[in-house]
C-alpha cells in the first residue's frame, strides 16, 4: 500500500516522546483531519450511546473520527451486503471518518476463544467466529475509511504465559499479512487504510519484536493492544509503550486501545501515544456519574500549589463515597466500571437540591440548560433522559480535556496539567497514609521521577484539612 494518504504532521515532540500534531488525509477524499493527542468518537453501531444526530450535534468539536466495532457490526454483514452502500450511509451518519476496530473497548470479551486462525466477537445474538477471510469480507461491506487488522489480543489477563504471548505476536503478524494480501487485491478497499496491531502482553522483548515486525509492513499506523485499563499498572504500561515507540516510525500514528482514564491518558501521551478510544465518557455515564475534574491550566503557576475549589469539592465527594461502602482508598487500576476520582456520583442525596450546573463554566447543552438537582431526579427515577444528558456532558468534558492536553503540550504546560492530576489522585488516598506516603505513592503512580516541592506543599495542605 505505497503512499498511504494518512499523514501525521508533528509540530512538537517533547522530551523525545510526547507528540503534538495533526493527522491529515483522513477519509475517502482525504479532507478530514484529527489533532493529536486526540480521542475517537465512541459509538454503538455508529450511534454515540443515547444520542441522536440532533443531540450529538449540540457538541462542539466532535472528534472527526467515529469508531465502529466489529462486535456491533459483524452480525449485520448480510444486511450491509444487500445494502451495498457501506456502513456510513447505512447508519445515516454525518460527515465523519469511520474507523473500524475489532472489539468494543467498553465490553470485555470472555477469554479462551481465539485459535490459530480465528478470533471471536460477541454480537447481540452471541459469538461470531472470524477467520481473516470473513473479517475482510465484513470490512468490504462496511467500507470504513480505516480499520485495524485482525489480531489476537487475548493477553490482557495477568499471568499469561510467555509462550502464549509469543503466539499472540506471531498470529497477529500472520493475520496482518493475510489481511494485507486480501486488501491489496480488493477493488472495494481501494483508498481504505489499515493499522497494524502490536501485541506481546507484558513482556518487553515480545512487545519490541511485535512492533519491529509490524513496522516492516505497509500499514498506515499502529494499534497498541493488550494495555487495557486493569491489565497492568501504569508504570509497566509506560515502560512497554516507550519500548514499542522506539521501534515504530515517528511519522505514523499510534492508537492505544482500551485506555481512557485521564491520568492514564496523560501518562501514555508522555510515553508516545497519539490516539485514544473515546469510551471513558460512556462508562462514566452508565454509572450515573458526571465528569467534573478540572483541567484548567490557565492558573497563575504561583497559585498552582494551593488546592483549588474543584479539589475541595472532590474531597467532599470522596468522604461521601466512603459512606456508601465503597473502598475509600486506592485509585484502582482494576474494575473499569468502578467510579473514579474524576467524576461525581449524581445519585447521591447531596445533589437532591443542588441547583448548580454539573460543572460551572462548561458550555455543553446539559450544563447550559439543566442542574444537578434535575439530573439527580432523573437518575433516581430511572428516566432515559439521564443517559442522554450525561452522555452529552461527559463527552464535552472529555473533548475539552484533550483540547487542554494539546494546549499544554504546545505551551510547555504539561507539568501543570499533571500536577492537577496528582492532586486529584492524592485526595483519594486513605487519610491514614502519611503526607510522605501520599507523595511518593501518587508520584510513582504517574511515573514521575522527580519530587516537586510545590506538590508536597499541596499534599500537606490537604492533610491538614482532613
Amino acid at each position: 500500500m505505497a503512499g498511504s494518504r494518512i499523514k501525521l504532521e508533528l509540530s512538537r515532540v517533547v522530551q523525545g516522546e510526547s507528540r503534538l500534531g495533526v493527522l491529515k488525509g483522513l477519509g475517502r477524499t482525504g479532507q478530514h483531519c484529527l489533532e493529536v493527542p486526540g480521542c475517537l468518537l465512541y459509538s454503538h453501531l455508529g450511534t454515540v450511546p443515547h444520542l441522536t444526530q440532533d443531540t450529538l450535534h449540540t457538541l462542539k468539536n466532535i472528534p472527526a473520527v467515529t469508531q465502529v466495532t466489529l462486535s456491533s457490526v459483524a452480525e449485520h454483514q448480510e444486511v450491509l451486503q444487500e445494502f451495498k452502500g457501506g456502513f456510513k450511509k447505512f447508519a445515516g451518519l454525518h460527515d465523519t471518518v469511520v474507523y473500524c476496530s475489532l472489539h468494543d473497548p467498553a465490553a470485555l470479551c470472555p477469554p479462551g476463544y481465539t485459535t490459530n486462525k480465528t478470533v471471536s466477537v460477541w454480537g447481540s445474538g452471541g459469538r461470531i467466529e472470524l477467520t481473516v477471510a470473513k473479517f475482510m469480507a465484513i470490512q468490504k461491506t462496511i467500507q470504513p475509511d480505516w480499520y485495524q487488522s485482525m489480531a489476537d489480543g487475548e493477553t490482557w489477563q495477568s499471568n499469561t504465559s510467555r509462550k502464549r504471548l509469543r503466539k499472540s505476536v506471531d498470529r497477529t503478524l500472520a493475520h496482518l499479512d493475510e489481511c494485507l494480501t486480501i486488501h491489496q487485491n480488493s477493488q472495494d478497499l481501494q483508498g481504505v487504510e489499515v493499522f497494524g496491531v502490536v501485541e506481546g502482553g507484558d513482556i518487553l522483548e515480545e512487545r519490541a519484536r511485535s512492533a519491529r515486525e509490524t513496522a516492516k509492513r505497509p500499514v498506515a499506523g499502529f494499534c497498541l493492544d493488550g494495555f487495557q485499563t486493569g491489565s497492568m499498572d501504569q508504570t509497566l504500561r509506560t515502560q512497554l509503550i516507550k519500548a514499542i515507540a522506539k521501534e515504530l516510525p515517528e511519522d505514523k500514528p499510534r492508537l492505544l486501545q482500551g485506555v481512557g482514564r485521564p491520568d492514564e491518558v496523560l501518562a501514555c501521551v508522555e510515553a508516545g501515544v497519539d490516539l485514544f478510544e473515546g469510551f471513558f465518557p460512556f462508562q462514566v455515564t452508565e454509572r450515573g456519574c458526571a465528569l467534573s475534574f478540572s483541567f484548567d491550566i490557565s492558573l497563575d503557576p504561583e497559585r498552582a500549589g494551593r488546592a483549588p475549589p474543584a479539589v475541595l469539592e472532590l474531597n467532599d465527594d470522596e468522604t461521601c463515597r466512603a459512606g456508601e461502602g465503597q473502598p475509600n482508598g486506592e485509585v484502582t487500576d482494576g474494575d473499569q466500571t468502578q467510579m473514579t476520582s474524576f467524576e461525581i456520583n449524581l445519585k447521591d442525596k447531596r445533589y437532591h437540591d443542588d441547583f448548580r450546573p454539573l460543572v460551572e463554566g462548561c458550555g455543553c447543552y446539559c450544563c447550559v440548560n439543566h442542574q444537578r438537582a434535575y439530573l439527580h431526579h432523573l437518575l433516581v427515577t430511572n428516566e432515559l433522559l439521564a443517559g442522554v444528558l450525561l452522555m452529552i456532558h461527559n463527552t464535552a468534558h472529555y473533548i475539552g480535556f484533550f483540547s487542554t492536553l494539546r494546549e499544554a503540550l504546545a505551551n510547555d504546560k504539561l507539568d501543570l496539567l499533571k500536577r492537577r492530576q496528582v492532586i486529584l489522585i492524592a485526595t483519594s488516598f486513605s487519610v491514614t497514609v502519611t503526607p510522605d506516603g501520599f507523595e511518593s505513592a501518587a508520584l510513582s503512580h504517574l511515573g514521575m521521577e522527580s519530587k516537586h516541592p510545590r506538590v508536597k506543599i499541596n499534599m500537606t495542605l490537604i492533610w491538614l484539612q482532613e
Binding site: P49, T52, Q371, A373, L384
Partner: protein, 400 residues
C-alpha cells in the same frame, strides 16, 4: 377600587374560536395560556416525571409541541413539591418554556388501585418506594400543583374504572363535584394557573348529564371529560363523549383525557373535543412500534431488517429524514437511542396529524379529511370500526 381589581386579575386562559366545522361539532381554536398560545385541536405528549422519556426539551420544542403533561402523584412523591418550588416550578425544574398541564393524581387511583383507598377526605396511597402512606386530598393535590406551577391544573376527581358499574359510579360522580369545589377553594394562584373540572358519571347518560349540569355552574376556565378511555366498549365511549360536548359551553376548551389512538383523535375532534393526552404514542415507541398513516410498523420485526426505506417516506421528522427501518431495526440490538428515534417520530406523527386536522377545519374541508384519513388507515371500508362509523354518522359524516 373594584375596577382596578378586575383589571389586575387577568384570566390566565383565553379561547379564540378560529373556525367551526359546519358539518360536525369540530372547532379550531387558539388557546392562549400563560406560557404561549396553543393551536387546537391539540395532542399533548405525556412527560410524567418531569421529562419526556429520552427526549430533550429542545427536541420537543423542535417538533412544535406547545403543551405537555406532568403528573402530580409521581412528582409529588419524587422529588416532591418543595424541591420543585425551589427550582422555580416544574417549568424551571425541567427547563420547559412552553405550557404544562398537570394531572391531579386521580388516575393513579385506578392505575395503582392495589395501593390506594378512597374516602371523602381523599385518596390514601401506599408509596411503592418506601411503604409510607400518603393522603392525596383535593387540597393536597392543588397545593402540589400550585408548587408545580402548571398552566393548567386538573381537579382531583374520584375516578372509577370505566368497566365498573353500580352505586360506586354515582358516589364517585357526586364526590367529584364536591371535590371540584374544594379544589377551586384551595387554588392559591387563580390568576396564573387554570383549574379544569373533570366530568365523571361513567357510562351512565343520566349520571353524566347530572354531573354536567352541576359542574358547568362552576366558574372554571375549562372542562375535561374523564372516566373514559379505560377499556370500555367503544360504542359506549363515543356516546358519552358526544353527550358531554353537547352540554359543555362552546366558549371553553374541552379536554378528553387519555385519548391518543389516531382514529379516536379524529373522531373525537368531530364530536367536539379540543385537547387530548395519552401515553400510548410514546410508550409504544419504546417497544419499537412506529405510528404511520396506515397503522403501525413494528420496527423490531425481522421483516424490516433489510428494509432501507424510512419509517414513512412522507414524514419530515428528524428520524425519517436520516434513518432507515433497517438501521433502526439493527440499532435496537445495540443502543437505547433506537427508542428515542421512534419516540421522536411518534410525537411528530401525532402533532402532524392534529395540525392537518386543524388546517382542514380552518379550510372548511374537515369531512373530506376524515374520509381520506379513514381510507388511508384501513385497507377497505368494511374494515372501518363500526363505532367510528356510527360516531361520525351522528355528526353528519358518512363514510363509504
Amino acid at each position: 377600587m373594584s375596577l382596578k381589581k378586575t383589571l389586575c386579575v387577568a384570566s390566565p386562559l383565553t379561547l379564540r374560536i378560529v373556525a367551526e366545522c359546519p358539518v360536525t361539532k369540530a372547532r379550531a381554536c387558539d388557546l392562549i395560556l400563560p406560557h404561549s398560545a396553543v393551536s387546537t385541536p391539540v395532542f399533548m405528549p405525556v412527560g410524567t416525571q418531569g421529562t419526556l422519556k429520552g427526549i430533550t426539551v429542545d427536541q420537543l420544542d423542535g417538533l412544535g409541541c406547545q403543551i405537555c403533561l406532568g403528573n402530580t402523584y409521581h412528582l409529588g412523591m419524587r422529588p416532591g413539591p418543595d424541591l420543585i418550588e425551589k427550582a422555580n416550578g416544574l417549568h424551571g425544574f425541567m427547563n420547559w418554556k412552553k405550557n404544562l398541564l398537570t394531572d391531579s393524581g386521580g388516575f393513579q387511583m385506578v392505575s395503582l388501585v392495589e395501593l390506594s383507598e378512597v374516602n371523602e377526605e381523599g385518596v390514601k396511597f401506599k408509596s411503592p418506594y418506601d411503604g409510607k402512606e400518603i393522603l392525596l386530598s383535593p387540597e393536597k393535590s392543588i397545593s402540589i400543583q400550585n408548587s408545580l406551577g402548571s398552566d393548567i391544573m386538573m381537579q382531583l376527581d374520584d375516578v372509577v374504572s370505566s368497566t365498573v358499574t353500580g352505586p360506586r359510579v354515582e358516589e364517585a360522580m357526586h364526590r367529584s363535584i364536591r371535590w371540584l369545589d374544594r379544589c377551586i377553594a384551595a387554588n392559591k394562584n387563580p390568576d396564573k394557573q387554570n383549574l379544569f373540572a373533570i366530568i365523571q358519571g361513567g357510562l351512565n347518560a343520566d349520571l353524566r348529564k347530572a354531573c354536567l349540569d352541576e359542574m358547568t355552574q362552576r366558574n372554571v376556565p375549562g372542562f375535561a371529560i374523564g372516566g373514559l378511555s379505560g377499556g370500555e366498549e367503544k360504542d359506549d365511549f363515543w356516546r358519552m363523549v358526544t353527550l358531554s360536548t353537547d352540554h359543555l359551553p362552546r366558549e371553553k376548551p374541552r379536554y378528553l383525557m387519555g385519548v391518543g389512538y389516531a382514529v379516536d383523535l379524529v373522531v373525537c375532534v368531530a364530536l367536539g373535543c379540543d385537547m387530548f393526552d395519552c401515553v400510548f404514542p410514546t410508550r409504544t415507541a419504546r417497544f419499537g412500534s412506529a405510528l404511520v398513516p396506515w397503522g403501525s410498523l413494528q420496527v423490531k420485526h425481522k421483516q424490516y431488517a433489510k428494509d432501507f426505506q424510512p419509517i414513512d417516506p412522507d414524514c419530515p421528522c428528524p428520524t425519517c429524514k436520516r434513518h432507515s427501518r433497517a438501521y433502526l431495526h439493527a440499532l435496537f440490538k445495540s443502543d437505547t437511542s433506537a427508542m428515542h428515534h421512534i419516540t421522536i417520530h411518534n410525537i411528530a406523527y401525532q402533532l402532524t396529524l392534529m395540525r392537518s386536522v386543524r388546517q382542514s377545519i380552518v379550510d372548511g374541508r374537515f369531512p373530506e379529511f376524515i374520509r381520506s384519513f379513514m381510507k388511508q388507515m384501513f385497507p377497505s371500508p368494511d374494515q372501518y370500526p363500526s363505532w367510528a362509523v356510527d360516531a361520525l354518522a351522528s355528526v353528519n359524516v358518512t363514510l363509504e
